[in-house]
Amino acid sequence: MSGDAGGAGAAAASGMAAPRPVIGLEIHCQMTSLKSKLFCPCRADYRGMGPNENVCPVCMGMPGTLPRLNAEAVRKGTMIAMALGCAIPERISFFRKNYFYPDLPKNFQITQLDMYGDTSIGGRGSILVDGGAVGIRRVQLEEDPGRMIYEGASARNHISLVDYNRAGTPLVEIVTEPDFEGPRQLRLFLQMLSDMVENLGVCNPALEGAMRADANVSLEGGNRVEIKNISSFHDLEKAVVFEIARQEAQHSRGLEVAQETRHWDAARKITIPSRLKEGEEEYRYLLEADIPWVRIDAETVESLKSRMPESVSEKRERFVSQYMIPPQVADVLSSDKLYSDLFDAARTDKNARELANIITTDLMGLVMAAATTEPAPDSDAAGGDAQKKRDDPASDVISVDGLRELADAVASGQMARNSAKQALHEMTKTGKSFSEVSSEMDLGLVSDESELLGVVRSVISEEPKAAEQASSNPNTINYLVGKVMQKTRGKADPQVTLELLKRCLLGD
C-alpha cells in the first residue's frame, strides 16, 4: 500500500485499512524470590521497609565499594532464558550504562549488552503464543535503580525524594522481537510470562512493580514509538490499543508518525510525548571490569535443566492426561503455582478430579473473597503484609490434609459436592478439621431409604404438576431430585433419591 501513488491521504479517502501494527516489548521482571540484591547482601524484596533501610555501602555506591555478583541470579536468569527457548552463551559479561539520574547511586547502571558477541544471559529465543511465534531478542540481568518520590503541589516548589531500598534489586530484562500481531497476543504473552517466572520461583508477579513493561509500537513501514511509564500489564494493553489508534488516526490524515518516546498517562488514559527525544541518550557503555566474565559451561546448563520445575504447559498436560481433569479446569489450575502445588500435595489417583474441582470452583473464590475484604494496601509499607498473604494464601486458610480428606469424601461418594462446599467454607472460616466440621454440620450423605422416602413423598405432594409430568418428561424427575436436595440441604444421596422417585412415580 505504501507504493500507492495516491499516498496515505488517498488511501484513507478511499477507505483502505491502515497498515498492520507492529508491537515489541521490553519487560523488566524483578527477581523478588531471591534472598539478596544483584551485587550486595541487601534484600531483593524491599517491600514493607522504611525509606532507605534496605541499603549498604555497595548498593549506595559508596566510594571504594565493588559489586559482588549474586550467583543465584545468574542461575535463575539462565533458567528464564532456557524457558524462553534462548541460546545460553558460554560466558556472560556485564557492562556499565553511564547516565546521570538521582535514583542511580553510582550514576551508572550495571547491565548486560551484546557488544562483544553474545554475552547476555540469553538470546535468540522464541516462544509460541496463541498460535504465533514471538521472538526473544535478548534476556539480560541488570540492577534496578532507586525510586523517586515527588512531593509538593507545583513544579516550582516540588521536592524530589529518593528511596534507595530498590537500588540494586536484581532484574531480568526480556526484549522481544516486534512480533506481536495485536493486543490479544500481547496479553496472552504477558500472562504466560508471568506464570512462567512465578513457576520458576524467580518472581512473585502479584507484587506491585515486580513486573513492568515498555512497548514499542509502529505501523508497518512507519516510525517506531516507545511507550514508557506503564505501571501494570492491564494498562500496557490499554496503552498499546490507544497508541495503535493514535497512529492509525495520524496515518489516515496523511501525517507521518514521529519517532519518539511517549509516556503513558494512566489518569487520562492516553500517551503523551516525553521531553527527552529518542537518540539523545549517550550511555558510553563500558565493560564492567569489577565483575569477571562468568563461564556457563555445558555441565551447569545441564544441571540447571534438571533443576527446572515442570513448565506450566507440561503441568497442564499432566493434569489432563494423568488425572482426566477437563482442559478448562486444568488451564486455571496449572497457571497458578500456589494452587497447583496445593493440588499436587493433596491429590491421590482417586480424588484428583474432585480435588481440582474443589480448588478451582470453591477454594479460589473463597481466598479471593478473603483477600478483597482486607484493607487495600495503599503504600509500600503495607506491601509486606500483602505479600505474606500472597505467599501462602491457600494454606493460610486450609491445610493440605483437610483438603485431601474433603476431596476423598466427595470422590468416594460419602459427601455431596454441595455439602463439600459448605464444609470447605466452614473449615476455612473456623480453621476446624474436616472430621470436626463434617460431624458438627451433619454433612454426611443421607442414603438411608426410609429416611429419604419421607422427604421424597412430601416433595411429590408439594409438586403435583411435576409429579404428573414425570412419566412423559425425564427432565422433570431431575427437577424433583433438585427439590429433594434442597430440602436436605444437599445431603441426599442423588443416586438413591433418583431411584426412590422413579419407584414412587413410575412404579419401577
Partner: protein, 490 residues
C-alpha cells in the same frame, strides 16, 4: 639502638626488635609520632594523622601481648600509613580532593582490616594527586608533597605521600595504589621500594576506584623484604572483590626471597631505555651487570607495542575514570553548595566544575573517547592495543624471560611546578610503568642509585602473572648487588 634512630629500622628489624624486647611498640610509635610532627612541616606527606593517644593505647596493648606471650600478628604494632584513597572506618578519606573533604568512610578496606588483624598500627592517611590522577602529587587539592632528597623537587605520584613517608621515616611502610605507576614512580623518585602486585592478588575493596580494570593496592617500604612482608599481609582472595584471584592463598612472600637469580633470564626492554636520561640509562646497564654477576643472563629485547602503551593507557583510564567518578554528583558528599537556582543537571555540573585541572582534563577526555561517536577511533582502539601488548608481553615471558627490566622512570625527578603546565610531557613519564598495569603483570621499583645531582634513580622489574615470588626474589638480588646508597638527607 638509641631512640632517635630506632625509627630507621626496616620492617623486619622492627619485628625482631619489638618481639625480642629491644624496644617497645609504644617507644617506637612515640618516636614515629614525634618524627611526623617535626618532618611534616617540610614534606606534607600526610593529609591527616590519627589521634596519637588512641594509637599509643593500641601500641601498649601490643606490648602487653608481647610480654604475656600472646599472638600480636606479623606486624606487631608496626606504624604504617595508607594512601588517602583507601577507606578506613571512621576516618576521613578525601582522595586528595575537596569533593570528598568531609567524607568519613563507614567501613574498612580489606587491606586495612588485614593490616589491623596482623597488628599494624595505621598512623596516617597519605597525600596523593586528586583521585590518584597525576604522577607528582602536585595535583593534590591539599598542596604538594615534597621530595625528602630535595624539597624543591616532586616526590613522584600519585602515591607521593606514601613514598615520602616511607623515605622520611614517618612510618615503616605504607600502602599506595598503582594505576599506571603510581606506586613505582614515587618509590623511584624517593629511593624506596614500590611494589605493584599481579592484578587480582590484592583486594581493591575499599580502594576508591579510578581505573578499576588495571589498578592495585601495593606496598611502599624501605627494603624489598619489607615490601614482601606487607604484601603477604594484604594479599589473597577476598569475598568483597570478585576480581581477586582464586588461587591465591595468603602466602608468605618472604619465603625463598633470598634464593638469588642464578639461571634467571632477564630481558632489558629497548623501548623503555632508548630515550632515557643518560644517567638513568647507565644505571640500568649497571643493574644488568649486577644481575649477570649473580648468575642471571641478560639480553636486550624489543617490545613494539610498548610504543603505543601510553596513549592506550590514557584513553582507557580516562574512560573508566569518567564512569567511576560520575558518582561524585554532590548529592551525598561534596561541597556545601545550596540547591537554589539549579536543576539536577546544572547542579551536578556546578559541583563537578570544581574538580582540579587534572581530574577535569581526564573526565572530559574520558567522556569523549568512550562516546558513541568516537569510541571506535579511541576507546575501542585502545582496548585493541592493550590486547596486543598483553599478547606480546605474555609471549616474551612464555618463550624467553623470567624478568623484564628497565628504569622505572626514564628521567630524573624534576622541580615542583616544572611540568604542571605541560600535561603531555608529564604523560610520557609513565612510559615504562603503564605496561605492567595494562597487562596486569606484577612489577617493582628497586632503589638503585643517586644521580650526580643527588636525585634517586630506581630500576623496574616485571614478571609474568602470579609470578610475584620470582619477582621479589629478583628484586632482592638486585638490592643486594647494587652499589651502596647514600643516606637520605634530612
Amino acid at each position: 639502638m638509641n631512640h632517635s634512630s630506632i625509627i630507621r629500622a626496616s620492617a623486619l628489624e622492627y619485628v625482631r626488635g619489638v618481639t625480642s624486647g629491644e624496644f617497645t611498640a609504644e617507644e617506637f610509635l612515640s618516636e614515629t609520632l614525634s618524627r611526623i610532627e617535626e618532618a611534616e612541616a617540610r614534606y606534607n606527606a600526610y593529609l591527616h594523622v590519627e589521634d596519637g593517644q588512641k594509637l599509643l593505647a593500641r601500641a601498649r596493648e601490643i606490648d602487653r601481648g608481647i610480654k604475656s606471650g600472646q599472638k600480636v600478628g606479623l606486624l606487631a604494632g608496626m606504624p604504617v600509613s595508607i594512601k588517602d584513597n583507601i577507606c578506613m572506618r571512621g576516618s576521613r578519606t578525601t582522595c586528595g580532593s575537596r569533593m570528598l573533604e568531609g567524607f568519613v568512610a563507614p567501613y574498612d578496606a580489606t587491606a586495612v582490616s588485614r593490616l589491623n588483624a596482623e597488628g599494624g598500627i595505621i598512623v596516617a592517611k597519605a597525600n596523593m594527586d586528586e583521585f590518584a590522577m597525576g604522577l607528582t602529587t602536585e595535583f593534590s587539592a591539599y598542596g604538594p608533597s615534597r621530595n625528602p632528597w630535595n624539597t624543591g623537587y616532586v616526590p613522584g605520584g600519585s602515591s607521593g605521600g606514601s613514598a615520602v613517608a616511607a623515605a622520611a621515616f614517618e612510618c615503616v611502610a605504607s600502602l599506595g595504589s598503582d594505576t599506571g605507576g603510581s606506586v613505582r614512580n614515587p618509590a623511584s623518585f624517593c629511593s624506596v621500594v614500590g611494589y605493584k602486585p599481579t592484578y587480582g592478588l590484592v583486594s581493591r575493596h575499599g580502594l576508591v576506584s579510578y581505573a578499576n580494570s588495571i589498578e592495585q593496592i601495593g606496598p611502599i617500604a624501605r627494603t624489598v623484604s619489607d615490601a614482601a612482608l606487607v604484601l603477604g599481609v594484604i594479599a589473597g582472595r577476598d569475598e568483597h572483590d570478585d576480581t581477586t584471584a582464586d588461587a591465591t592463598p595468603a602466602t608468605d612472600y618472604l619465603e625463598g626471597i633470598e634464593g638469588g637469580v642464578e639461571g634467571m633470564r632477564v630481558g632489558i626492554v629497548d623501548e623503555m631505555t632508548e630515550g632515557a636520561d643518560p644517567e638513568v640509562a647507565r644505571a640500568a646497564e649497571r643493574a644488568a651487570g649486577n644481575l649477570e654477576a649473580a648468575g642471571a643472563s641478560c639480553e636486550r629485547v624489543s617490545l613494539d607495542m610498548v610504543g603505543y602503551s601510553v596513549p592506550s593507557y590514557y584513553t582507557i583510564t580516562a574512560a573508566e575514570a569518567a564512569s567511576n567518578l560520575a558518582r561524585y554528583d554532590n548529592l551525598r558528599y561534596g561541597y556545601d553548595l545550596p540547591l537554589d537556582g539549579y536543576e539536577f543537571n546544572s547542579y551536578v555540573a556546578e559541583a563537578r566544575g570544581r574538580f582540579g585541572p587534572e581530574v577535569t582534563r581526564r573526565m572530559i577526555l574520558g567522556g569523549y573517547v568512550s562516546s558513541a561517536g568516537h569510541a571506535g577511533r579511541y576507546y575501542l582502539k585502545a582496548l585493541k592495543v592493550r590486547a596486543k601488548l598483553t599478547r606480546e608481553v605474555a609471549d616474551a615471558f612464555a618463550s624467553s624471560y623470567d624478568i623484564l627490566m628497565a628504569p622505572t622512570v626514564p628521567i630524573l625527578p624534576f622541580r615542583i611546578g616544572e611540568k604542571t603546565d605541560d600535561p603531555v610531557s608529564l604523560f610520557m613519564v609513565d612510559l615504562n610503568t603503564v605496561t605492567a598495569n595494562l597487562t596486569r603483570r606484577p612489577a617493582v621499583s628497586v632503589p638503585y642509585a643517586v644521580s650526580a645531582g643527588g636525585l634517586p634513580i630506581g630500576i623496574q622489574m616485571m614478571a609474568d602473572s602470579m609470578q610475584d615470588r620470582t619477582l621479589l626474589r629478583a628484586a632482592r638480588a638486585l638490592e643486594m648487588r647494587r652499589p651502596p646508597l647514600p643516606e637520605v638527607p634530612d
